[in-house]
């Protein structure tokens, strides 16, 4: 009964479409969400889906840490453990990382460029549902008698019928093909929207930085996901039709799979980080009260990363024995990526330098991003040096490294974005107190989980083992990791609690709570379904600054 829903008091209800929706019956609401083609609703559904999968993937991680707490522990058997790390990796990459970024992009790219929707609204809805069904399909493998146990990068010949007898690997491959189609649909939509639908006056040199990074992320999606689709199709042909792509006894090649997978896999990690660079580049200027330092260099660095990252994939394969020239080439290409990334870092620091820094929650998470992603980047350079990688490939050092990048980079940055834009999406502020608890628990728990992994890796602990013998000196580091994971748990619980309760408990946000400068803050919070009553005209990179300061507009200086 809609009359039982408690209405928020003290603010204008008529202006808030979300509250109008709350007065509909729940079936009407469900119908509304299931059939919507509004980029904002689709964006919210992407983010909610990702958070649900984040919790699932997190539970899988906790189970694995529990098993590794003691040597020769018997909490999980090896098959279950193999399934858990496969599902954990697959879930976090395909059903948390990409959809949460695509979702935030979906919501904010049209708003930031002054458009009324994405270029292809129905394709957009299709992309979301297909991504969701892909995720469901991968998890359906559990009802076939167990999840795939092949690792998230599924090295041949593990995926062959000989080693994966059930249907789980087929479900996994099909699910990723299906969700990959959704991701490509998203990429196509972003490019068409950003290149074809910007507000009058917003030339490509004036787009908000988040929009610019979404453009290049989409470019990478278009070049990286289709090879994965092709390679997964080959797996299915091998398994179901008796083809021989990865079938070594009949001339097939396990090595080819590694090339095809990592040709997708390495651009993928940049797909997961570029939008975050964009978010942080929106947040740091607003909370330092300065314009983004070196916009042109930042823009060029983004392009540079998008192109260079297409030629570094085989640094995941140094231990395969590719030969000296390929090793050299891919090591050098890997080092090259650190140049544009370094440019970005120094520009963020220069943006903050001399600014009036305001450590509200979005800035706090951006600070977490800057400090942690730097360390993850540096261990990445270490692993990019082929001789170093020979020693530590497939050890816990690598696990520590990429979690440092994906949590320290992608997750902290995404949380910064969520705290920055939540007021726009809901019309309510998140609780700053809870945000601070969430941040510090995550910061400490994260360092405690993944820091020791670097040490256990150097001490020789291989990744993906379900247990280990006592006496290698690995116990204490594993126990610290598990302890850190337990500290992280309440942090995620606080996030979910904060996101839900702030919907009605949060302070009303107003249109522009951060005194920001991009177009999304020009419309109401939450925005009406048509976004802008009047399509805005843009003269500079900070159109809202120009409106607020007509006596000193930015376009005089750009």
């Amino acid at each position: 009964m809609s009359s039982l829903v408690e209405q928020p008091r003290g603010i204008e209800l008529a202006d808030r479409p979300a509250d109008v929706a709350m007065n509909m019956g729940w079936t009407a609401q469900a119908h509304e969400w299931a059939t919507t083609v509004d980029h904002k609703k689709i964006g919210i559904m992407y983010v909610v889906m990702s958070i649900v999968f984040l919790v699932i993937g997190g539970i899988e991680a906790i189970l694995m840490r529990w098993q590794l707490f003691y040597p020769r522990s018997k909490v999980l058997d090896q098959d279950t453990f193999n399934q858990l790390f496969t599902m954990h990796g697959t879930t976090m990459v395909f059903f948390v990382g990409m959809p949460i970024l695509i979702g935030i992009g979906n919501y904010f790219v049209p708003l930031m460029i002054g458009a009324r929707d994405m270029a292809f609204p129905r394709l957009n809805a299709f992309g979301f549902w297909v991504t969701l069904f892909g995720g469901v399909m991968v998890y359906m493998s559990y009802i076939t008698g167990g999840a795939p146990a092949v690792g998230w990068f599924a090295y041949a010949p593990l995926t062959s019928n000989t080693f994966s007898r059930g249907a789980a690997t087929d479900f996994w491959a099909l699910g990723l093909i299906v969700s990959g189609i959704g991701t490509i649909a998203g990429g196509v939509n972003f490019i068409a929207t950003i290149l074809g639908m910007r507000a009058p006056g917003m030339t490509l040199r004036k787009v908000p930085f988040f929009v610019w990074t979404m453009l290049w992320t989409s470019f990478q999606i278009l070049l990286a996901i289709p090879p994965l689709t092709a390679a997964l199709t080959m797996i299915i042909f091998d398994r179901q039709l008796g083809a021989h792509f990865f079938d070594v006894p009949n001339g097939g090649s396990a090595y080819l799979w590694q090339h095809l997978f990592w040709f997708f896999g390495h651009p993928e990690v940049y797909i997961l980080i570029l939008p975050v660079f964009g978010m942080v580049s929106e947040i740091i200027p607003v909370f330092s009260r300065k314009v983004l330092f070196g916009y042109e260099f930042m823009a060029a660095a983004t392009m540079g990363i998008a192109f260079i990252s297409l030629s570094v994939w085989a640094h995941h394969m140094f231990c395969v024995g590719m030969g000296r020239m390929p090793d050299l080439f891919f090591a050098v290409a890997t080092f090259l990526v650190s140049i544009p990334t370094g440019i970005k870092f120094f520009n963020w620091l220069a943006t903050m330098y001399g600014g009036r820094i305001w450590f509200a929650s979005p800035m706090l998470f951006s600070f977490g991003f800057l400090s942690m992603f730097l360390i993850g980047g540096l261990t990445g350079i270490m692993l990019g040096a082929a001789p170093f990688d020979f020693q530590l490939s497939d050890s816990y050092f690598v696990v520590g490294h990429f979690h440092w990048v994906l949590i320290g980079g992608t997750l902290f940055g995404t949380f910064a974005g969520i705290h920055y834009w939540y007021p726009k999406v809901t019309g309510r502020m998140l609780s700053e107190r809870l945000a601070r608890w969430q941040f510090w628990l995550l910061y400490i728990g994260f360092i405690l989980t993944f820091g020791p992994m670097h040490i256990s890796g150097v001490l020789g602990m291989p990744r993906r083992i379900y247990t280990y013998d006592a006496g290698h000196g690995w116990e204490i580091w594993n126990q610290l990791s598990t302890l850190g994971a337990l500290i992280q748990v309440p942090s995620y619980a606080i996030l979910v609690y904060n996101l839900i309760t702030s919907l009605w408990k949060g302070k009303p946000a107003g249109d522009d709570p951060w005194d920001a400068w991009t177009l999304e803050w020009m419309t109401t919070s939450p925005p009406p379904s048509y976004n802008f009553e009047e399509v805005p005209t843009v003269h500079s990179r900070r159109p809202l600054w120009d409106l607020k300061h007509p006596e000193d507009p930015d376009w005089q200086y750009e």
């Binding site: 090879p227 008796g242 009949n250 006596e551």
Partner: protein
């Protein structure tokens, strides 16, 4: 602080941008993803060229006359759809319908040729997808290309059904343009497939 409105700086006029329409960007970026897809299949084909442990090899199984005929059909269909577009822009609806139907027909002839070729390969040469690496890579590459030809034919049939007895709007013309882009792309892929499969791997002697 606020100055009288007349003293405020006046922004320069906005120059209109001349770029593609959103739908054109959409099709162009979709085709870029298709390039990545076919590059993967072609790279795989090339990587396995001459690595077979059992026959038949491309040189033994593939024969040129039929495929040259179907290739001519497919490539000329690109020319036909180009003229179809031109007559659409001139408003010659009947001629447009005729030429578009002709394009689809040439595509169907191409598919029929592929069907006959595959029948020969399977029945006479016992080449199936599970026979050897050549079979796996050949059927995957040529099969996915054939699938794209099929999708293009379906798209053209939809356009035909929509166009019969109706006034053709600007929006419709834009849609036809995108179908034509897709069709040119499918033809361009075939040129590469033809060169790799029927020229390079056939003559490599393996």
């Amino acid at each position: 602080m606020t100055q009288p409105a007349s003293d405020l700086p006046v922004p320069p006029p906005i120059a209109p941008e001349r770029m593609l329409k959103p739908a054109q960007w959409g099709m162009a970026s979709f085709l870029l993803s298709e390039v990545a897809f076919f590059c993967t299949l072609i790279a795989t084909y090339v990587a396995f060229m001459g690595k077979d442990t059992v026959g038949p090899t491309p040189a033994q199984a593939l024969s040129l006359p039929l495929v040259i005929a179907t290739t001519i059909c497919l490539l000329s269909s690109s020319v036909v759809i180009h003229f179809a577009e031109r007559s659409l822009h001139r408003g010659e609806q009947k001629r447009f319908l005729f030429l578009l139907a002709g394009t689809a027909a040439l595509g169907i002839v191409f598919l029929l040729g592929t069907a006959i070729e595959w029948r020969t390969l399977i029945v006479d040469h016992h080449l199936t997808i599970g026979r050897n690496l050549f079979g796996s890579t050949y059927y995957t590459l040529v099969g996915f290309h054939g699938l794209h030809v099929t999708v293009g034919i379906v798209a053209m049939l939809i356009v035909l059904v929509l166009a019969i007895g109706r006034e053709l709007t600007e929006k419709f013309r834009n849609g036809v343009e995108l179908v034509a882009w897709y069709w040119h792309f499918v033809d361009a892929v075939w040129i590469v497939v033809f060169l790799v499969v029927y020229v390079a791997s056939r003559s490599s002697g393996a």
